[in-house]
């Protein structure tokens, strides 16, 4: 009986082991299948995730590239191999009168309304040299003809098929304007410098050749040489000082300066020019302390420049008044040079202090470089913390003025 029980037990045990093994094997296989299934699901999920991430990266990169394009001042138009616009940056949108979003996906020839540019881009899609193509074109956008530097470059297209043509348009009008101003300035400066130099060299030659009849004539020649040398020096000072101030290299020698004395010196030095045009120059110096803390030579240069302009642009027999006063309330010195000349229109009063600017009406009356008043503004505003301005009415004369803070000492005395 025991044996039977033991045998049964053994059988059961063996069977159990076999069953267990069977189920173990079954389970293991199921697990493997499940694991495989899980792995498959995972990898499928990973692939879509990867694709999603790649998509994100692509979009981010594209947005970054577009953001880079959009900050460029040059217009950028990217056209794909089928002639559709992939991207037009903000500057291009401005020229084509469409937003970058509207332009994207449109047929390039429908959006680019300048025929010349449209055909240049179309031609470039058929192939470009590896270094791209650079040309200058007069293009018309929004009814305005402007010179552009057109740079075309293909993306792909070497061994792989061409993906896109990138067109960059650079507006050349500003560069042209700077070049024109520069050459205009060289021409004006050369004219301005040669004129006093002509007088100096001509009068010296006359003295050498004995063309002056007597001592009085000789004395007159010496005076001309001296006046014209001053004029030449003023011009050179203006030219050099303006460059120095702009380069931040101007050294300013502050000292107590009596502006009344500067006015008298300036009027005396320009007396000859005023006499030649039979102009009266009056000075009105307030009987108060006119001392400021500033650079004597530079302030003198401002007064002489304003006075010399007044003489130059006031007709024969006109009247010029140089006035200086101190405003002890604002602790500032006020100087003005008023003339009975042609006056300046309201649209030009702000521009007269700009570098190279010349009043339209005056161009035919007298020569000039357009530097004198710009230098005055630099000296008054940049170097002396003052203010310069102009009150004028066309036909009624002009009144140029400047104010600068007074010396500390004067302020206290006034208080």
């Amino acid at each position: 009986m025991y044996i039977l029980i033991a045998a049964s037990a053994t059988i059961v045990a063996v069977a159990s082991i076999a069953a267990a093994r069977y189920w173990y094997l079954q389970l293991r296989s199921a697990k493997a299948e499940m694991e495989k299934a899980i792995h498959d699901v995972d990898s499928a999920r990973n692939e879509s995730e990867t694709a999603r991430i790649h998509g994100c990266i692509d979009r981010t990169r594209r947005r970054q590239a577009e953001a880079v394009f959009d900050v460029l001042r040059d217009a950028v138009i990217v056209v794909d191999a089928h002639g559709e616009i992939l991207h037009a940056n903000a500057a291009a949108g401005g020229l084509l009168s469409v937003s970058p979003e509207e332009a994207a996906g449109k047929v390039m020839t429908d959006i680019v309304n300048d025929h010349q540019l449209a055909s240049t881009i179309s031609a470039a899609r058929n192939g470009l040299p590896s270094e791209g193509r650079l040309c200058e074109q007069e293009l018309s956008f929004n009814g305005e003809d402007v010179s552009y530097e057109v740079h075309l470059q293909s993306v792909g297209g070497h061994e792989e098929p061409m993906h896109a043509v990138v067109t960059v348009l650079r507006d050349l009008s500003r560069e042209r304007e700077v070049a024109r101003l520069k050459s205009d300035f060289v021409s004006k400066a050369s004219h301005e410098l040669r004129t006093p130099l002509s007088s100096i060299s001509a009068y010296i030659e006359m003295l050498v050749d004995g063309d002056a009849a007597d001592e009085e004539a000789r004395q007159e020649f010496y005076n001309v040489i001296s006046t014209e040398t001053d004029r030449l020096r003023r011009l050179i000072d203006n030219l050099l000082n303006i460059s120095r101030i702009e380069a931040g290299l101007m050294h300013i020698d502050r000292e107590q300066v009596n502006v009344g004395e500067l006015v008298e010196r300036a009027v005396k030095s320009m007396a000859h020019q005023a006499n030649e045009k039979e102009q009266e120059v009056h000075t009105q110096l307030a009987k108060v302390d006119l001392t400021v803390n500033g650079d004597s030579d530079m302030l003198y240069q401002v007064i002489v420049n304003l006075l010399s302009n007044a003489i130059k642009y006031t007709p024969q027999g006109g009247r010029i008044t140089v006035a200086a006063d101190a405003d002890h309330l604002t602790r500032s010195l006020h100087l003005s040079v008023a003339d009975t000349g042609l006056g300046i229109g309201p649209d030009e009063t702000d521009k007269v202090f700009d570098k190279f600017y010349r009043v339209e009406n005056y161009r035919r009356i007298a020569n000039g470089t357009g530097l004198g008043l710009n230098l005055c503004r630099h000296i008054v505003e940049t170097l002396h913390n003052g203010q310069i301005g102009l009150d004028s009415t066309l036909g009624m004369g002009s009144r140029f003025w400047f104010t600068i803070p007074m010396a500390e000492k004067t302020g206290r005395v006034a208080a």
Binding site: A202, E205, M206, D211, I365
Partner: protein
């Protein structure tokens, strides 16, 4: 009889120095301070030679040359142009039938007087030849 030269420049010093040099060289001289003034004088009393600056108010030297050329009374008067514009002046600017020479500032008054003498001597010779031929 002395030849008469009309000198035109808005710079009084230049006007004075040229007039004196030309007078000292035996010419009669009249002066004008701008193109309009010069044209008026030239029509009223035609000179034998005009010496003019280019950059002047109201009517510049180039406009004066053209105006003189287009007026019957003054069309045959030779002109010498003096300019401070130097290299910035295009050759075509002064390519006008009556312009005999272009002088750059700074200039030599002696040189201008010699040039005037030579131009006027040629004209005198031509006139003599013409009257002899007639």
């Amino acid at each position: 009889m002395a030849h008469r030269i009309l000198v035109v420049d808005d710079e009084t010093h230049i006007l004075q120095v040229l007039s004196l040099k030309l007078r000292n060289s035996g010419f009669k001289v009249s002066t004008a301070v701008d193109g309009e003034d010069a044209l008026r004088q030239a029509i009223e009393n035609p000179p034998d030679l005009v010496i003019t600056d280019i950059q002047m108010p109201y009517m510049n030297g180039i406009e004066l040359c053209n105006a003189l050329l287009n007026n019957k009374t003054t069309s045959s008067i030779p002109v010498v142009v003096i300019t401070a514009r130097g290299h910035t002046l295009a050759v075509s600017d002064t390519d006008i039938a009556n312009v005999r020479d272009v002088i750059s500032k700074p200039f030599s008054p002696r040189g201008v007087a010699e040039l005037a003498t030579s131009i006027l001597a040629n004209i005198s010779t031509q006139n003599v030849e013409r009257s002899e031929a007639a």
